[in-house]
């Protein structure tokens, strides 16, 4: 029996702050041998002595490192923020399900995101771009409060130059030097007005963004079975045993974190 509780020890290759306020830190860690995953999956990161917490994988499956971007919020994340290059951490994974990329083939894909929930969507975006010809239009709408809170923005600015990809970046209010969209994600989504036909929508963001985006999605005509989102819950084991992350009969760690909107609507609103 393979013990799913045992983490693998890996070294931190790079650790740097994403945002000017130092609330977001990105760590790139060694990818253990034989580690294969799909966008949307997550890992449990162990800081020994402090505990374990789940984080979505932000690197693309083809990259030779695993990337996590972590908001400083609790006991474990604070310790992750102390990490420096060369430190050792434990990881368990990949865990959970992934964005249903098989369904996306020969379809349009619209990615809508806000804040630091963008992590696994970077993975998804790069994954889709690797074999670009398998998908039709790809549109990304991504917003944050301030420019410095946009994750991986230098990389996104580079991607903006591509012809085969439509990127709309937005911040909540005007900032000096910011020439892209200004406004909240739902407003930008409405302005961009992407066609719902033949399109899959992937949406990740803070609760407030989700709340105001849902009506827009409905208005644009996206049927709930073609809308996917990734949920967050408090987790411990990450493998559907310890019990706390269930929503109805499903465990977010095992049967999620990616759920379609129509599935979510059948479940109690415990998220």
């Amino acid at each position: 029996m393979k013990n799913p509780y045992l983490p693998v020890i890996v070294k931190v290759k790079r650790a740097y702050f994403e945002s000017d306020d130092r609330s977001l830190k990105t760590i790139d860690v060694e990818k253990p041998e034989g580690f294969s995953f799909l966008p949307g999956q997550f890992c449990e990161i162990s800081i020994f002595g402090r505990g374990e917490a789940p984080f979505g994988i932000a690197s693309a499956p083809s990259e030779d490192f695993l990337r996590f971007t972590i908001n400083k919020a609790g006991y474990v994340t604070t310790a992750i923020h102390w990490l420096e290059e060369g430190d050792e951490i434990g990881i368990r994974g990949p865990l959970g399900n992934y964005y249903p990329v098989e369904l996306f083939e020969r379809k349009n894909v619209l990615i809508v995101s806000g804040g630091f929930a963008f992590t696994t969507l970077r993975s998804l975006l790069l994954y889709l771009l690797e074999e670009r010809e398998r998908y039709k239009n790809i549109i990304l709408i991504y917003g944050a409060r301030r420019p410095d809170l946009l994750l991986y923005r230098e990389e996104l600015f580079e991607l903006e130059k591509r012809e085969d990809l439509e990127i709309h970046l937005t911040v909540d209010t005007e900032f000096p030097g910011w020439t892209r969209h200004v406004g909240f994600v739902p407003q930008v989504l409405e302005r961009v007005n992407p066609p719902a036909e033949d399109t899959y929508l992937v949406m990740c963001g803070p609760p407030a963004m989700i709340k105001f985006t849902l009506p827009v999605i409905e208005k644009l005509g996206f049927p709930p079975e073609r809308v996917f989102t990734s949920l967050e819950r408090r987790m411990k084991c990450g493998i559907g045993k310890c019990g706390r992350c269930n929503i109805g009969p499903y465990y977010v760690c095992r049967d999620g974190p990616v759920f379609s909107l129509d599935k979510l609507r059948t479940l109690p609103r415990e998220y």
Partner: protein, 321 residues
């Protein structure tokens, strides 16, 4: 059916304490003993043997992760049939092709569970509602029925190999068994559970949950004493030699159970928490594993400080009360 002298089994159990960890009811709770046991309906259930309140799952020492080594196999002796069945219910959740819970399963696989039939069920028992009963063998390697200075035994090979075969039961033994079984079963209240899972699911947003759950204090007494509740917490403890990662019983009744680092709590009040406990046992469990996650042992009824009676709740929600 076999019959084995009581003292033979008692003696054997003490001998086996050398190679096995013996868990048995003692002073009212299931605990590790040297082979002694007490004939009772224990307060802390049989799950203590296979899912202890506190258990190390790994160590981090000198920069390496070490799996916690296996201990001696377990004999769980003298529990009631409901507790034996409860362990097989926990196993349904722990057995998982992709992510098996090794710490539970390896104990369970090598372990032996011997239950003693419940000749005098309590007033709060409702085990017969869930397709088993006070003389049920489900989940047990052997079921013992006390008769004078003998035990009548319904057991499997695993049991007889360890404890000896005794002699063939006599005709009168079989009659005694059937009669005692009938008498015990008759004493037990049956709660209708037909389509309970679906009924519950259809009432998930029902305002009745608020009424039902109001008196719940959100302590963990029911879940800790429940023989089928298996939720746990994992925490790291610092030791002089490194880090010990352990798991502990946890309870869905605690508000911090689901509270996230951001402060957001998806199950913020007693209403959602009680609902989740009931739904998990009677709707999600059957949906996932085809069995109710309750054995009707009645502990949560007896030990609830505010007399939250799950039987009443099931009657209300199941539509018969």
């Amino acid at each position: 059916m076999r019959r084995i002298k009581k003292e033979a089994i008692e003696k054997k159990l003490k001998e086996l304490a050398k190679d096995y960890r013996i868990f048995a009811p003692m002073n009212g709770d299931v605990k590790e003993t040297g082979g002694e046991f007490e004939e009772c309906f224990p307060r802390l259930s049989g799950k203590c043997a296979f899912l202890p309140p506190e258990e190390e799952i790994l160590r981090y020492k000198d920069g390496k992760v070490e799996e916690t080594p296996e201990d001696k196999p377990i004999i769980l002796f003298g529990i009631r049939p409901c507790d034996a069945r409860a362990i097989s219910l926990i196993e349904l959740a722990m057995r998982d092709e992709k992510f098996p819970d090794v710490y539970f399963l390896r104990k369970k696989e090598k372990g032996i569970i011997i239950s003693i039939a419940c000749k005098e069920p309590g007033d709060t028992c409702f085990c017969t509602s869930f397709g088993h009963g006070p003389f049920s063998t489900q989940g047990s390697d052997a079921l013992l029925v006390e008769k004078d200075d003998y035990y009548l035994v319904l057991g499997n090979e695993k049991f007889f190999k360890l404890f000896g075969e005794g002699e063939e039961a006599r005709e009168e033994d079989k009659e005694y068994f059937e009669e005692a079984k009938k008498r015990a079963e008759e004493k037990i209240e049956k709660i209708p559970v037909d389509n309970l899972g679906e009924k519950l699911l259809s009432r998930i947003e029902d305002p009745v949950w608020e009424k039902i759950s109001r008196k719940c204090l959100n302590c963990g007494a029911c879940t800790f004493l429940c023989p089928t509740c298996y939720c746990f917490d994992i925490q790291d403890l610092e030791r002089s030699w490194g880090v010990s990662r352990r798991r502990y019983w946890d309870s869905c009744m605690f508000s911090i159970y689901t509270k996230e680092a951001s402060g957001h709590n998806p199950r913020p009040t007693h209403r959602e928490r009680v609902r989740n406990r009931i739904m998990h046992k009677f709707s999600y469990y059957p949906y996932l594993y085809g069995e109710f996650g309750c054995t009707g042992c009645g502990r949560c009824v007896v030990y609830c400080p505010v007399n939250f009676d799950i039987r009443e709740v099931l009657k209300i929600l199941g539509g018969s009360g």
